[in-house]
Amino acid sequence: MASNQMNKELSVQDMIKKNKQKKNLGNAIEKIVPIFLLLCAVVSVLTTIGILFTLLRESILFFTKVPLTDFYFGTNWSPWTEHFGVAPLIAGTLLITAIAICVAVPIGIACAIYLSEYASERARKIIKPILEILAGIPTVVYGFFALTFVSPLLMNIFPDMRIFNAMSAGLVVGIMIIPMIASLSEDAMSAVPKSLREGALGLGATRFEVSMKVVLPAALSGIIASIVLAVSRAIGETMIVTIAAGATPNLTFNPTESIQTLTAFIVQGATGDTSYHSTIYNSIYAVGITLFIFTLLMNILSQYISRRFKEDY
């Protein structure tokens, strides 16, 4: 009996000991885990630093060979003959972006108004995922569509248009960003409280008047932010313009001509016969940092607008 008691006591002590060891292990985990998680969180910061470091290092090398002013104010881009004026690439990028925005803004906002103000719950549940499919299609597919379908179609309308042209690429970039504008604007409009709509409807306003005079102004910051974000996406879009817009750096705003964008040049420069640390190789990064700054400014502007002008109800 007594020895039994002893045994039991011992085993209890063992258990306590074991528990203490477990607790130590647990304590260790409690201390290690946050450190591991923090290290993972730092990866995204390191990525940003990496991007800045990469772009800066190579473009500084570039700007020691080609003066900054020649780069940004030069109007002749033919890197294989040592002419590095980036204006034609910027013009090409802006042309594509302008065409895309002309397509995407009216259609995207009209979609958003329909979905948030007119559509029944059921219609919205069906249509929204269908629009989201547009956003999930790889851009190489859009490029193929622009080159083999939209271009030949447009060539029937504009007979002197080339198969590689800014217009078909711009139109298709526009189609690509429709769901982005539609979905973000719809979110902004849905956030406008029902009571505002009901008040206006109760005063005898039509749905259209409610949309235009109540919902749209209230959701304006969100809508503008979505447009700015879409502009950024259009500026950075690569495969559609690489496949469909051609590879002709061209200081023109004529959409029927073949052009080249910032992104399309990066692809051409990286796949062509460019040796490591040649001037052309460095120029890829100078173009890259220009692109990066453009899109970064747009993204910051978009975040600023949606934060600064957010209406609180």
């Binding site: 969180a41 730092v42 193929f144 569509f145 083999t148």
Partner: protein, 289 residues
Amino acid sequence: MSQHVNTSHTKSRVNINKFFKFLFIFATALAMLFLAALFYRIVSQGMGYVSIDFLKNFPAPYIEEAGLFAGIMGSIFMMAITAPVSIIIGVSTALYLEEYAKQNKFTRFIQINVQNLAGVPSIVFGLLGLTFFVYILGFGYTLIAGALTMSLLVLPVIVVSSQEAIRSVPLEIREASIGMGATKWQTIWRIVLPAAIPGIITGSILALSRAIGETAPLIIVGAATAIYSIPDSFMSKYTVMPIQIYSWTARPQAEWQFVAAAGIIVLLILLLCMNAIAVWIRNKFQNRY
């Protein structure tokens, strides 16, 4: 008299409303029409070229023999690296930001940094991969360089969607767990993560389906266009489906368009399946609390 004016005015307002309602429906239909035209075009051009041989052949100089096998295997191998790397780092980042980080400047900096990374054009990630993985780390134009570049590209998307999933786990069940004597990590590992996992998986699948379709950064980090073997190590040369499609699109002879369309059909079927799974998970586990 004034009554009459008012009714006609009301009538015209009602008509304007009808007109614009029609216009908005028309715009929505137009967007869906683009989608239909795109699918119709690709299916009508490529369907005849999709076959078992097309799925298991390597690239070839002749249209009848060209196949997508190297691209399919390359995409699978790439995802086998990209998925674990990006999901582990992404979910960890989200856990840190949501559960551990104090509300201070450093936390806000990481948060803003992640949001800005999500808006950086994919081709810029390609330049990062080219300098860092290909040249500085000396991986060359290999599978691992491409896969790591892709991991960094999808990381912000996974972080943001995981954060939303973790945030939507109600405070009460955490408090209940802590109240039962569980430690913070036990609560996270056994209570918060299981509850957030449907949302995390949904976001991750959507992010990875974007990665499978990405072309631009892989062109920059040197995915090859003609590969006659499947990767046998991290340091193998590789190609992926979108790169093969791109290289077919870029050929001058028009017949290669049909092969490109066939490749696109295979790619789109895979992506639609992934999206369907994501939507299914989202609907099945929605509103559990």
